[in-house]
């Protein structure tokens, strides 16, 4: 029997019941009309009888949910201004939270996109000054060579921090691209072989070695289209000819936002002796991080101790080893957690605000709800209904949050791309969406529980609204203070004396494509 047939049968059954009742009363001498009335009165609410019987059929729960959902959606549509306000508040809060969580995921949890990431380690230079703690720095060319020549438990690789923009021309096309300099062992240590050609040789990585370049897959496509293996071809970097020795596979990320790589040519003197190198290492199979760190300590002892700085303090250089993920993101972790705390707070405030709005609107619905309860709706039903109402509003916000999350992520990435290559790998994926969903549901519960509870409270004036206001203020004040302090700092930086007169000065960037300077 279909649902409709069942409904009709039940209605017919109840109608027959009432007619029989009326018939009996007529036989007792009532007029037809009075008998009808009395029968109806005796029967009570047919709607209630039907409703309870329907519940008996079992599959009613889902259906009543769908019906309530439709009803809630209709109510949301009827108050577009209110709905838009609520949805926007939630969309903003959830979207930004999801974006921050995507970063947190990359910085804390997601394994790095290389084979056996647990064997990868990050090596930093730490300068220890008596009584002053340590400060982390990058390596010099000389320190790198010490590391390279003495390591036995791990294979180290050196690379430049970040990528720098250069002009690149191939054939008749020229692009402004990001170049990262890496040591010969870099790709091998990461464990990612080139898709075409080979990676750099030691010869190419040494001073006066032949000029070689490796391309990202994206740049290969931009320069040469779909021509496949392009190793052996030439291109111009800063107007100088380089030969392409290899192409990395699509999706490879070196940690910096790089389009092409050239050998680092680290050295103890000349340009290669610079001091902005970073090092990573792959532990030999079966070697524990602690064992490798022990060896690193011994290597540290061979480093020459520099003379005291201008402040008269001697800073002793020491290599330090951490898991690669931790090392790469060490400067990112605390700010991210602070940001997460802030957006979490915003989300909470948003949810409480929405709760307040729904509560205010609820009072306009009091008559309707009272009528429904008088007609036999249980407290549980009304409670669920009102809760669903807020959940629907928040859920609309949750859906809107998805584009917001993508927008916020893109915004944060353009802000940070130059500084932290890692952020490029943050994506809004199923994990971020799942957490966003959880945030939305929580927000919906927070926003909905109070109005729902209020709607079925025995005492009408029930909830002390002052408590709500107090809670909100308590949440907002720290946030405002934090934002204010940040604003102050920003303002101070803005008005900081630059040391020169910026009046009538302009900055221009000129790209000299294809010509040697």
């Amino acid at each position: 029997m279909t649902r409709k047939e069942r409904e009709e049968e039940l209605a017919r059954e109840l109608r027959a019941h009432m007619e029989m009742e009326a018939e009996e009363l007529r036989e007792k001498g009532l007029t037809a009309e009075a008998a009808q009335h009395a029968a109806r009165r005796a029967f009570g609410s047919p709607a209630l009888a039907m409703e309870r019987t329907r519940e008996m059929w079992g599959w009613n729960r889902l259906e009543s949910f769908v019906r309530n959902l439709r009803y809630a959606l209709r109510r949301a549509r009827k108050a577009p201004g209110f709905t838009a306000t609520v949805a926007l508040v939630i969309a903003l809060a959830v979207g930004v939270t999801a974006a921050i969580l995507a970063f947190i995921d990359v910085a804390f949890f997601k394994p790095l996109p290389y084979p056996e990431p647990e064997r990868l380690a990050y090596i930093a230079m730490s300068f220890e000054a008596a009584g002053r703690g340590a400060s982390d720095r990058v390596l010099t060319g000389a320190q790198w060579e010490t590391l390279r020549d003495n390591a036995s438990l791990f294979e180290p690789a050196v690379y430049s921090s970040g990528a720098a923009g250069v002009n690149c021309a191939a054939g008749d096309r020229a692009f402004f691209v990001n170049q990262q300099r890496v040591g010969a062992s870099f790709f091998q240590v990461l464990g990612v072989p080139p898709a075409f050609g080979r990676s750099f040789t030691k010869d190419e990585d040494s001073e006066n070695g032949p000029r070689a370049v490796m391309l990202s897959d994206a740049l290969r496509r931009r320069l040469f289209g779909d021509s496949g293996d392009v190793s052996g071809r030439k291109l111009l970097l800063r107007g100088e000819p380089y030969s392409i020795v290899g192409v990395m596979p699509a999706g490879f990320r070196s940690g910096a936002n790089a389009d092409l790589w050239t050998p680092l040519k680290a050295s103890t003197r000349g340009e290669g002796a610079g001091s902005n190198y970073q090092a990573l290492a792959r532990l030999k199979p079966g070697v524990a991080l602690a064992a490798a760190a022990g060896e690193l300590d011994n290597i540290s002892k061979t480093l020459p101790v520099p003379e005291a700085g201008r402040d008269g303090i001697v800073r002793v250089p020491r290599f330090k080893m951490q898991p690669l993920l931790e090392g790469r993101t060490s400067d990112l972790r605390k700010p991210l957690l602070v940001l997460l705390g802030a957006v979490g707070m915003v989300l909470l405030i948003g949810a409480v605000n929405v709760g307040g709005l729904v509560l205010a609107r609820q009072s306009g619905r009091a008559a309707e709800l009272a009528t429904r309860m008088a007609l036999g709706a249980s407290r549980g039903q009304v409670f669920r209904d009102v809760l669903l109402d807020s959940m629907v509003l928040v859920a609309i916000g949750g859906v809107l949050a998805v584009p917001f999350a993508f927008g916020a992520l893109a915004g944060l990435q353009t802000l940070n791309a130059r500084m932290i290559g890692l952020v490029e790998s943050a994506v809004i994926d199923s994990r971020a969406l799942a957490v966003g969903l959880a945030c939305t549901l929580t927000a919906g519960l927070i926003a909905g529980i109070l109005p729902a509870w209020q709607s079925v409270a025995r005492k009408r004036r029930a909830f002390p609204l002052g408590l709500l206001v107090a809670g909100q203020v308590a949440l907002v004040v720290p946030l405002l203070v934090g934002a204010g302090l940040m604003g102050r700092t920003f303002l101070a930086l803005w008005t900081l004396e630059a040391g020169f007169d910026p009046e009538n000065l302009v900055i221009a960037r000129i790209s000299f494509a294809g010509c040697a300077i």
């Binding site: 059954e13 027959a16 019941h17 029967f43």
Partner: protein, 114 residues
């Protein structure tokens, strides 16, 4: 015979099913007759609410203790839905009667004046 309103007793939770099954023991019945029957045999002390009766009937049907059939009411030009006791419904009735007897006896022991 009419019982004044205030002497009506509310049905104990879970007893309606048993009363319905008991009523059907004497032959098929429709909802209206079941309600009237319970009211009459209890001297109007028990009032069967229709909001409870029909859910109960449908519950019994789902359990397989009664079956239903639409049929002409005798002497009337109208079809009504009849409920019939099934064999498993009879067993269920016996089980419920036993439980009820135990319950009455137990409560009687507690409430007996010392």
């Amino acid at each position: 015979m009419e019982n004044p309103e205030n002497e009506r007793v509310e049905l104990l939770q879970g007893t309606l099913d048993m009363l319905v099954l008991q009523t059907l023991l004497f032959g098929r019945c429709h909802g209206h007759a079941i309600a009237k029957n319970i009211q009459r045999t209890s001297d109007e002390a028990l009032l069967v609410e229709h909001g409870s009766l029909y859910p109960a009937l449908h519950r019994l049907e789902r359990q397989g203790w009664v079956t239903t059939k639409w049929d002409k009411a005798p002497g009337k030009n109208r079809e009504v839905k009849y409920y019939l006791l099934t064999p498993s419904g009879k067993k269920q009735l016996v089980a419920q009667q036993n439980r009820w007897a135990q319950l009455v006896a137990a409560i009687g022991k507690v409430m007996r004046p010392v």
